[in-house]
């Protein structure tokens, strides 16, 4: 059962139920969250750099690649929050962890970005 102290931790819908898991797993969950955040920062940095450096490429395709990278960089922190809270909740309730829901969009999106940049280079 959750103690009154535990239920004061934010968010209530995560910490208000279940029992405290092994702290090593909680800390690992936090590090996974941070790795996603650094991924998001890297995606945003790449998207901005493409526009800022403006390499000699077909401009519309370069813009499309840039926008795609930034949109992925926008979705990543949102998924990082939901994955962190969902996994913390699952651990508290002794349920298995789920796979990161952004894995497929991120893979496909990065591959499409690569194709767009290749096309932008060839069509300049």
């Amino acid at each position: 059962m959750s103690s009154p102290v535990a239920s004061r931790r934010f968010p209530r819908w995560v910490f208000g139920e279940g029992s405290e898991p092994d702290p090593r797993f909680t800390l690992a969950n936090e590090r996974t969250f941070l790795a996603w955040i650094r991924t998001a920062l890297a995606l945003l940095a790449c998207g901005i750099a493409l526009e800022a450096v403006a390499p000699p490429m077909q401009p519309q395709l370069r813009l499309a690649a840039s926008v795609l990278l930034i949109v992925l960089g926008l979705l990543t922190p949102v998924q990082a929050w939901f994955a962190w809270s969902r996994d913390e909740r699952a651990m508290r309730n002794g349920r298995p962890l789920s796979a990161p829901s952004l894995m497929v969009p991120l893979t496909v999106g990065t591959a499409i970005t690569g194709l767009l940049l290749l096309a932008a280079l060839l069509l300049r």
């Binding site: 931790r9 405290e20 909680t26 945003l44 901005i48 840039s66 926008l74 922190p77 949102v78 929050w81």
Partner: protein, 114 residues
């Protein structure tokens, strides 16, 4: 991070987590400096303001995460678990800040083509 030489876990998970936070804060600082450099030709002094805001955010992140790690460490040593340890406030704040930067980046990039 030891408390009077005591450690909670031989795997040093709390320390590794604190380092991951610091690494993230450092990435934000680097991003702020690079952003200032990139925005300077168009924004001038405004770019310096943006950069300083970013550096302030990075400092908040490092300070906030250090306090978080101290709290977690104290809680682990005293109670053996994280029952009264840090919650998800800093985590939520990081997500909101990161998404806001993304929205601003999208506006700048798309705006440059209009």
């Amino acid at each position: 991070m030891t408390d009077g030489g005591r450690i909670f876990d031989p795997g040093l998970q709390p320390e590794r987590t604190a380092l991951a936070w610091r690494r993230t804060g450092l990435a934000v600082a680097v991003g702020a400096i690079a952003g200032t450099r990139v925005l300077f030709p168009t924004l001038g002094a405004g770019a310096v303001v943006v950069g300083l805001l970013g550096l302030g955010l990075a400092a908040l992140l490092v300070i906030g995460s250090t306090r978080r790690a101290r709290r977690a460490q104290a809680c682990l040593l005293e109670e053996g678990n994280l029952v009264s340890g840090p919650g998800g406030r800093l985590i939520a704040a990081v997500c909101i800040a990161c998404t806001s930067v993304g929205v601003a980046a999208l506006a700048v990039v798309v705006g440059a083509h209009l």
